[in-house]
Each structure stands twice: as C-alpha cells, then as structure tokens.
Amino acid sequence: MSKMLSVENLSISFRTDEGVITPVKGVSFTVEKGRTLGLVGESGSGKSISTKALMQLLPGTARLGAASRMIYTAKDGQQISLGNLRHGSKELRRIRGGEIGMIFQEPMASFSPVYTIGNQMMEAIMLHRGLKKREARQFAIGMLNKVGISNAAARVDQYPHELSGGMRQRAMIALTLSAGPALLIADEPTTALDVTIQAQVLDLMRDLQRELGMGMIFITHDLGVIAQIADDVAVMYLGTIVERGPAKEVIRNPQHPYTQGLLDAIPSLDHLHDRLKPVPGDIPSPTARPGGCPFHTRCTQAIAGTCEVHEPPETSAIPGCAVRCWLHTSQGRSAA
C-alpha cells in the first residue's frame, strides 16, 4: 500500500481575545491508498481542525506550527506540500475537491439552499472534470444514481430542502465524489442521521471507497462506527493523538485509559441493567490546557508526580500500535 498523505507534527494555533490557543499540537498520521483512517475523539479534540488545515479551510486567525509537514501525493504521483500552497492559487483549487473531497456533518447546511442539487454538482463537475454543461448534467445524474437516489433525472433539479435527511447526505456524497477526489475526508457524516439511515450511508461509503480506490479519513466520536468502517484508528484528546494503530487491535485491546473509557461508554445490549459509564469529568477548555499529559485531570490511573508534570512520549508496546501514556513506559511503571 502506498502512502497518499503524510502529516507530521501538525500544530495549529489561533489568535483569540484571550490569547493564543493551540487546539492541535504535534499531530502525526498517515493515510494509505484504499484504506480508511478513523479519527476519534470528543468535541473540541481537534479532529475537524486538523483535516481542515489540509485544505487551508481554517479562518485567517489560524497559524500552523513551524515544524508542521503535510505531504500529499497527487493522482499523477506529484508530491505536494499542502501547507505551502498559495491562497487563491490554481493548484490549491485543484486540490480542493479534485484531489481531496470533504463531506460534512450537516447535509442540509452544506448545500446552498438557493441552488438546485444539480446546479451545485454541475459546478464541481465542470470545474474539475472540464465537462460542458450538458455532459456535466448527465454525469451528475449518473452520480446520483450511483449513490442510490431513485429517479435521479428528476432529483437533479430539486432543491436541497425537497430531499429527506438521508437522501441529502447521499446527494452530498454524490456531489463530493463527482469532482473525482482521491482522498475523501468525512467529518461525522452520519452523526445527524437516524440510526437505520446511518448504517445505509456507512455501507454506501465503504462500497464507493472500494470501488473508486479512495483513501479516506473518517472523523467521528463513535468508536462503534469506527469498528464498522475504519482500517486504522487514531484517538485524539485535546489536540494530541493519544493512541493509534489498526482499528481491530485498538478496539480489542485498548492501551490508553482514554480509549478504554470511550469503549466502556458505548451502551451495550448485553448489559441493559447496568448504568452507562461515561468518561468522568469534562473536556478542559483549550485556553486552559492541562500541563503534562492532557488527560491526567480525568484519568483514574494517573501517576501522581509524573502525569501532571511531564508530557508522555509515544511508545509502541504492540507492533503497529502506538500510545502516549506513562503507564506504558518503563519509567512510568517504576514510578507507579
């Protein structure tokens, strides 16, 4: 498998009225062709911001850390440093949509309400595939068919509000894929949908990914969804990846106390009488990021004198997996 995206040491800070905050700190991950990386974490853990940085979609107050590297291998094999693309450049516009496509959580809000589905699809198709209007329309109808929208020839002229929630997200997938991206970033695409629709959309995305051979970054807060769709997983907490590895391995044998907490928090049909077990405490505000290990304020296994003082290094106990936790270092174990 070839690496199509390699992110190293990504740090993102924002200038705010309360000073500089750094919601993403030293994040590294890779995406391989045809595979899915799941980014998991609570709201505010920096999942979305990290992926928005790839396409320079962050507001003007955002700054990337000096050591941040984001190398993307384009469809033609060219290596592109995503952080260095000039604003408004043709190359950036080609990357946006044509190389990397993005699907968002709210299908209703991601369509403009004043243009038809077809209008917005044809715009992307004409931009990235160089087709004429008539051909673009045919292409759009074909794409709507592909994502399982019945009567696509009529739907293409409808407005977003005329579609149901699930249909809208299917149409959004069609819109994003119609530009022909090699890498798909899906930012909680099923969170706003009913559970039954959720499963359909997940199936659809997995099938399309296989068929088109795309790489995918799937952002979610739900480890259950990760189990269904991701090959690899990276668990984020307060802007840092605390654990990563093959999805099966991480879910079966979580190393980090935070990952363990997230898995315990999933309600189970086998234990209906048990109370739910949420991860204790609240996620701290990014303006008050705890020193040392960011998770120590909520960790039940924190080692006093170590975890709140020093940031843990990334270690690898199981091959292919990595974890940032003092419990998994020789130093930490002796301190405990």
């Binding site: 979609l57 950036l92 990357i95 949509g97 044509g98 709210e106 809000a109 991601s110 004043v114 509000h161």
Partner: protein, 330 residues
C-alpha cells in the same frame, strides 16, 4: 415564477386600490374644503358679506357638494380611465399641468438616488464583511456613523460649496439657465444628469451608510455558513464563490426594503430641495395642503404610494428570484 409573479401582481393591484381609498380619506380629514378657502380668498378685504349660501354655490360649482362615495369614484375613475387627476383649484388649471414636470424630476432624483445607494453600499458592504476587522472595515464603520449622524441639508450645503469650487457646477437647481425652459432634448437630459448627481449623492449618503452596515452584517453571517465552506472545499474560485453563495443571500434585507427607501428619500427630499434649489413634489405637497387644494395633494400622495407599492412588487419579484424558497412557499 409566472404564477408567483401573477399572485404578487394581483396583490399589488388590490393594495393600490386600498391605498387610494386611504389617500382619499386623508384628503377629507382636514376641516373645511376648498370652497371655504376660495370664498375667503376672493372676498376677504373687499367688504362683501359672504353668506353660507354663497359658499354653498361655490361648492356646487366645484362639484364638492356631491356625496363622498360619488366623489371618490369620480376621482379614482378619472385617474384610472383617463389619467385625469382633476382640477387644481388654487392654480386654476389641471393637476396634471401643475405636477407634470415635477413628477419626472422627482422620479429621476428618486431613481438616481436608489441606484447610487445600491451600487455603492452592496459591493462596499460585501468587501467590509470579507475584510472584517481590517483597517478598511473600521474606516467604513466610522464613515457609516458619520453618514448617519450628519444632517442632509448640512451635507448639501458643504457639497454645494465644494462642487462649485472644484467642478464649477452652478449652484442649485436641476438645469443650467439655458436649458431651464427649453423643451426636452438629449442635451437637456445630459444637463440634468450633471446637476442630478449632487442631489443623488446628498440623498444617498445616509442610506449608503446604513445599507453598508446591513450588508456587512448579513454577509458576515453568510460567510460563516457551512455551505460556503463546503463550496470552498470543492475548489470554487473565491470571487465567484462570494458572489454565488453568500452575497446572493446577504443582499436579501436590502432588496426587501426598496419600498422603504423610496419613502425615506421622498421624506428627506424637501429639506434638501430647499438647499439645492430643486423644484420637486414634496414642497408642492406641503403648499397644496396649506391651500386645502386636495386634488393636488391627493395626486402627489397617490403617486408616491403607488411608487412605493410598485417598488415593493419589484422587490418581491427580486426576492423570489434571489431565494427560490420564497416563491416555493417553504
């Protein structure tokens, strides 16, 4: 769109009818009528003893003794069927002759002011929202407060002074001397345009200041919409993106208040007109009211309200085109 247009058109016609009734009632409200005023004018100081019967005779001559309902239908019927606004009593000629040219001049000023307001405030407001928090944005905010705080007539005086100093424009009026009484021609129209811009700038000043802030606020909201980020993530070029996605919705409140702007400009017109030496309808309206010359007052009020209702109709159509959800009724 056709159905939507027809519906709105029907609505406009009904509104105009109701408005004409109201205008007629407003004409009836002041105590006394032109018959009293005429008798007073003709005989005061002459020593002639005027009796009720004399006034009644005048009233009959003028047709003012008819019942109200009849006079309304007579009045509105004349306007709708023959374009005849009736007799301007105080001027002893037809209303059409009295208001004639002034209607076109007033309409010209109104239209020029509206056009200038939107041509300036919409792009500038969009620019301010895109460059939010920059020096230019703050500068525009300061200008807006200045624009709203400065009285129009003061601005008119200052503008007159500088227009005369720098551009050698004649002071006041809508025409140069040689064209004032000349028949309409291309040269006369051009001469009017040269005078018109000053009035348009003065009248548009505060509206521009106000609408810049409106567009800036709605555009700032629209820029944060997910659909804009989504379009950007599809690689739509920035300028095309701004016009197609956020700007189209951001000008919504400006378009929906076109009718209000017409009314506001007309209300501000008389004061500015005094300073700039314009002959327009507002001043005439006041005079007609003082004279109890109700046909003139009614014609002006009716034309103004029709202009507002018509502009509202246009703004409805524009809104329906800008945001198809409106005409689909969702």
């Amino acid at each position: 769109m056709l159905r939507f247009t027809l519906e709105r058109f029907a609505g406009m016609v009904v509104t105009m009818l109701l408005v004409s009734v109201m205008v007629f009632l407003i004409m009836e409200i002041p105590p006394g009528d032109y018959a009293d005023r005429y008798a007073f004018r003709k005989y005061s100081g002459t020593g002639v003893n005027v009796t009720e019967a004399d006034i009644e005779a005048i009233r009959r001559d003028l047709g003012l003794d008819q019942p109200m309902l009849l006079r309304y239908f007579d009045w509105i019927g004349g306007i709708v069927l023959r374009g005849d606004f009736g007799q301007a009593f105080a001027f002893e000629t037809s209303v059409a002759k009295v208001i004639g040219d002034k209607v076109w001049l007033t309409a010209g000023i109104l239209f020029a002011t509206l056009l200038l307001t939107y041509l300036v405030s919409i792009p500038v407001g969009i620019y301010a929202a895109v460059r939010r928090g920059s020096a230019v944005d703050y500068g525009l905010t300061v200008f807006s407060y200045l624009g709203l705080a400065l009285p129009n007539f003061l601005l008119a005086l200052v503008m007159l002074y500088f227009a005369n100093r720098w551009f050698g424009a004649d002071i006041g009026g809508l025409f140069s001397d040689q064209y004032r009484d000349a028949p309409w021609s291309l040269a006369k129209a051009w001469d009017m345009a040269k005078h018109l811009w000053l009035s348009a700038v003065v009248l548009a000043w505060s509206a521009v200041a106000y609408q810049i802030q409106t567009v800036r606020a709605t555009m700032s909201d629209e820029l944060n919409k997910l659909s804009v980020t989504a379009a950007r993530a599809r690689g739509v070029p920035e300028l095309k993106l701004l016009v197609k996605y956020p700007a189209r919705l951001a000008i919504n409140p400006v378009v929906s208040t076109i009718g209000f702007d017409v009314n506001r400009i007309f209300s501000e017109l008389p004061i500015v007109a005094v300073v700039l030496g314009l002959t327009e309808l507002g001043e005439l309206l006041l005079k007609a009211y003082l004279d109890l010359d109700m046909n003139v007052a009614g014609a002006i009020l009716l034309l103004l309200t029709f202009a507002i209702v018509f502009m509202n109709f246009l703004s409805d159509l524009l809104l329906g085109w800008l945001d198809p959800r409106i005409k689909l009724g969702v």
